[in-house]
């Protein structure tokens, strides 16, 4: 059974990110930076109607705009569009200006149809049906255990709540997009993607080109968070434009489009009832949730990572429970998997009701968690974290903080899978001059994949990371799975390690050098003569596993006159198996927490019920947390090297909003039951609406 090296100099070190220098100098070429010879600009015309029958689209005038080389329809024939922003057509031209003018020249003949864009409206009958053949609200799935109605009567305390979360947009800073060149030689696509192979296969299928004629490249990309799998409609359009124009077409989406059409996290509307014995042991749980994944919801569509379903009762086990979940369709862009799909809202609702229970039973919230948490790892994390955070000193009975600005504390726990994909491959090449190349068709979204591979190769060969050339993001390289589910490290690291250990063994065998590592390396490689050594590797059992916990604590202060919430501190205790690269791992934790802060306090997609448009398709009114909004962040990584590499990207964003929401409730003595907890919502919870009676 393979094992990570006992002596690790680079694995687990604070080595800096391999691609740091190219990123800080602007030398790194992202998908949006790639400019093949003769490239054209591509742009999409989108529906400005939330629901309409598209009768005819006339591209003639667009094609006559100077500089325009091609124009295509998104789909032929009459069709129905079901959200503001759905693709209608696309153009390619010599400049952005030509494309803008061409879009304005496209004539669209439509019959607008009735639409519905809010969950509460869509649930009611009769609401306009998003999908004609099914009602907007799906039939609930029901999951029952024990006898929940009887169990409630046995409880010493029963608490209820109704909690909602908003639709959150991924908003990676680099938009979705591709530069595609489609000619007789095949299809080459530079793609901003989390899965070069998913783009390759998607394009091959959509364009009806054999997979071996499609190459996808993604050297550097600016974030995905779950939204960038497959070529997307925009990738197919770029390819078709390229074929029609006879030139590469770069089609990157704008921020406006990012807010409409390339994914989001579904909303939730959670009605929860929880009962327990006097000592806090959970006994009865009733849960009803609906939410929307846009047109990806309701009776007619599939879920698949973007689903509305939550995990209830999240990390806890309750012997008597009834869980009912449904999804409601609205005329809005479909959801897509978004960093820990389903989990932040699940954790938020569950940890909120747990805190209400703690208050009712007059138990310490952390003690209540420890009592009911089935995971030994998490229980230890709560104890360690509570002490480090200063829980005992900071905790006060809810709402008892004096003064206008009230402080409060809260906590929450998470679980995640991660784990490795057994199909991951890699290739190591050792050159006669001692230089090393490691290749893998995986991606680095900013997660540090490139660096992990270099550290592993360095430790295997006894070299330094800068002696390793890591090449990723090309479907010509050995297969790497999509970067999702926090599985990349656990997939790619074992594969790269396997390739390197096999390469080392082969080098030693071929050259007769018994230990070619470290100081012996140059001489051993020289013995290769003129032939480099190329060794494939694949994922091996024993180097990774799955299943992590994680807990977070938050301290907030709330200005009860302005409703402004400031997060003072977040303490995170997280396990992730073997830490391969400390710096990149810690940065992932920062990132997950910051995303959670946005989810808790600022981010929501706002739909207008009368016009059906997205009202905040920009960063002015869809608000991301900024440097000035940062709390003190305290991170403890629990090193569990015996578990191998697991993955950390998602678990660390799950409990943040839950902890912050609980801290706000603790500060105020009342619950702000909806995320994001904007000043308007905080003041409403305090009864300070100042509005009409």
């Amino acid at each position: 059974m393979p094992a990570w090296p006992e002596k690790r100099r680079w694995i687990g070190s604070r080595a800096t990110r391999l691609d740091g220098p190219v990123k800080v100098t602007g030398a790194a070429k992202y998908t949006s930076d790639v400019q093949p010879e003769g490239w054209l600009c591509g742009m999409i015309l989108r529906s400005k109607w939330p629901k309409a029958k598209i009768r005819k689209i006339n591209l003639d005038k667009a094609l006559k705009v100077p500089g325009i080389k091609a124009a295509v329809l998104a789909r032929d024939g009459e069709r129905t569009v079901r959200y503001y922003g759905e693709e209608l057509a696309a153009v390619a031209g010599a400049s952005k200006q030509a494309c803008l003018d061409a879009l304005k020249a496209i004539e669209v003949l439509v019959t607008p149809l009735p639409f519905v864009v809010r969950e509460e409206d869509a649930r009611e009958e009769p609401a306009p049906r998003v999908w004609e053949e099914s009602p907007n609200l799906s039939k609930p799935s029901v999951n029952e255990k024990g006898d929940v109605d009887k169990a409630f009567t046995e409880c010493a305390a029963v608490v209820e709540g109704f909690y909602t979360t908003a639709v959150q947009i991924h908003h990676p800073l680099e938009p979705h997009g591709n530069t595609v060149s489609w000619n007789e030689a095949g299809v080459t696509a530079w793609s901003s993607t989390q899965g070069v192979f998913s783009v390759r296969d998607g394009l091959a299928s959509h364009l009806q080109v054999p997979q071996n004629q499609v190459r996808v490249i993604c050297d550097y990309m600016g974030g995905g968070f779950g939204s960038k799998f497959g070529p997307g409609v925009e990738g197919g359009l770029a390819a078709r434009l390229s074929k029609a124009a006879g030139a590469p077409v770069k089609l990157m989406l704008t921020r406006f489009e990012q807010a409409l059409a390339v994914g989001n996290r579904p909303s939730s509307f959670q009605k929860i009832k929880l009962g327990a014995a006097a000592d806090g042991t959970l006994h009865a749980f009733e849960f009803e949730n609906y939410g929307t994944a846009g047109i990806g919801s309701g009776g007619a569509t599939a879920g698949g990572g973007s689903g509305v379903e939550l995990h209830a009762p999240y990390i806890y086990r309750v012997p008597n429970m009834r869980v009912k979940q449904s999804a409601v369709a609205i005329d809005a862009g479909s959801a897509r998997a978004f960093r820990a799909p389903g989990s932040p809202p699940s954790c938020y609702g569950m940890e909120a009701i747990m805190d209400e229970l703690a208050v009712k039973l007059n138990l310490d919230p952390v003690e209540l968690r420890i009592k009911n948490d089935p995971s030994e790892v998490r229980r230890k994390q709560y104890r360690l974290g509570a002490e480090r955070f200063g829980w005992k000193e900071k905790y006060r009975k809810p709402g008892t903080c004096p003064g206008v600005v009230k402080t409060g504390v809260g906590c929450g726990g998470a679980t995640w899978g991660g784990g490795g994909n057994r199909r991951a491959r890699a290739e190591a090449q050792v050159n006669p001059d001692g230089s090393v190349e490691v290749r893998c068709g995986t991606q680095d979204l900013g997660t540090g994949t490139r660096t992990l591979i270099a550290l592993i190769a360095a430790d295997t060969f006894g070299l330094t990371p800068d002696q390793i050339r890591v090449e990723i993001g090309d479907t010509r390289f050995p297969y790497g799975n999509d970067s999702g589910g926090s599985t990349t490290a656990a997939s790619v690291c074992p594969a790269a390690y396997d390739a390197c250990t096999k390469a080392l063994a082969e080098l030693q065998e071929r050259t007769g050098v018994s230990d070619a590592r470290g100081p012996n390396w140059p001489a051993a490689c020289k013995k290769l003569g003129v032939n480099p050594l190329v060794m494939p590797g694949q994922w091996q059992e024993g180097l990774s596993s799955s299943g992590v916990g994680g807990v977070q604590f938050a301290e907030v202060e709330v200005d009860t006159e302005t409703g402004f919430v400031r997060v003072r501190k977040v303490t995170c205790v997280q396990d992730c198996g073997l830490v391969v690269s400390k710096l990149t791992c810690e940065s992932q934790v920062n990132g997950g927490i910051i995303l959670g802060i946005g989810y808790a306090l600022y981010e929501e997609r706002v739909m207008d019920r009368h016009t059906g448009v997205v009202l905040n398709p920009n960063f002015e009114t869809y608000k991301l947390p900024a440097l000035a909004d940062m709390p003190e962040i305290d991170i403890v990584l629990l090193d569990m090297p015996e578990r191998g590499v697991i993955g950390i990207g998602e678990p660390v964003t799950i409990p943040t909003a839950a902890a912050i929401a609980n801290a706000v409730a603790n500060a105020l003595g009342v619950r702000v039951p909806s995320l994001p907890m904007t000043p308007a919502r905080v003041l409403a919870a305090l009864g300070k609406t100042g509005g009409p009676a």
């Binding site: 800080v24 680099e174 979204l445 810690e586 940065s587 992932q588 920062n590 900024a626």
Partner: protein, 219 residues
Amino acid sequence: MIEAKPEEGLSVSRRAFLKTFGVSAAAAAAGQLDAVAQELSNADTEKLHGPGAVPITLNVNSKTLKLELEPRVTLLEALRDHLGVTGPKEVCDRATCGACTVLLDGTPIYSCSKLAIEAQGHAITTVEGLAKDGQLTPVQRAFVEEDALMCGYCTPGFVMSVTALLRKNPHPTPEQVKIACAGNLCRCGTYPRVMKAALKAAGVSTASNTEVISYASLA
């Protein structure tokens, strides 16, 4: 509303305007008047440029570059699409995120909200123009050492904002770093380390906020 007093001039001739609203110091006023008078006599300088493409000269990272662009082309677009200077990124195109930050005569601005035609006659510095002879600047080195970057898409913008801050104020407080970086967004989560990097480049080391503890050692 009140009509301005008669001595301020009923009809505003150019010279009368300059006399009333020009710089108070007489010498400076005279100098300005001379310079402006010279310009005023040159009818070309108030002419309309465009709407079609016109010759535009940009000074980018100390190089003089000539282009033919429509007036509606932004500086960001000129840099990226017409000059291949792709360090500044297009993320929002609406002056909300800072990824397009460049220095105009040393001052950080959003290049997405400056027309290329307006940027003529100014020294434009992009992230590519910072490192000399392949050596990272102290700010760039600090970003790498503190891991103040992840996907890196926001990084050129942050590097420009922090560089401009430290050139103006070599010893900023954390509050001043927040103000300088308030116009830069990141989605991956680099903010805590951007702060550390900025302070490090200013010679201030900060405590680490992370610890690795062996699980086996916990009770």
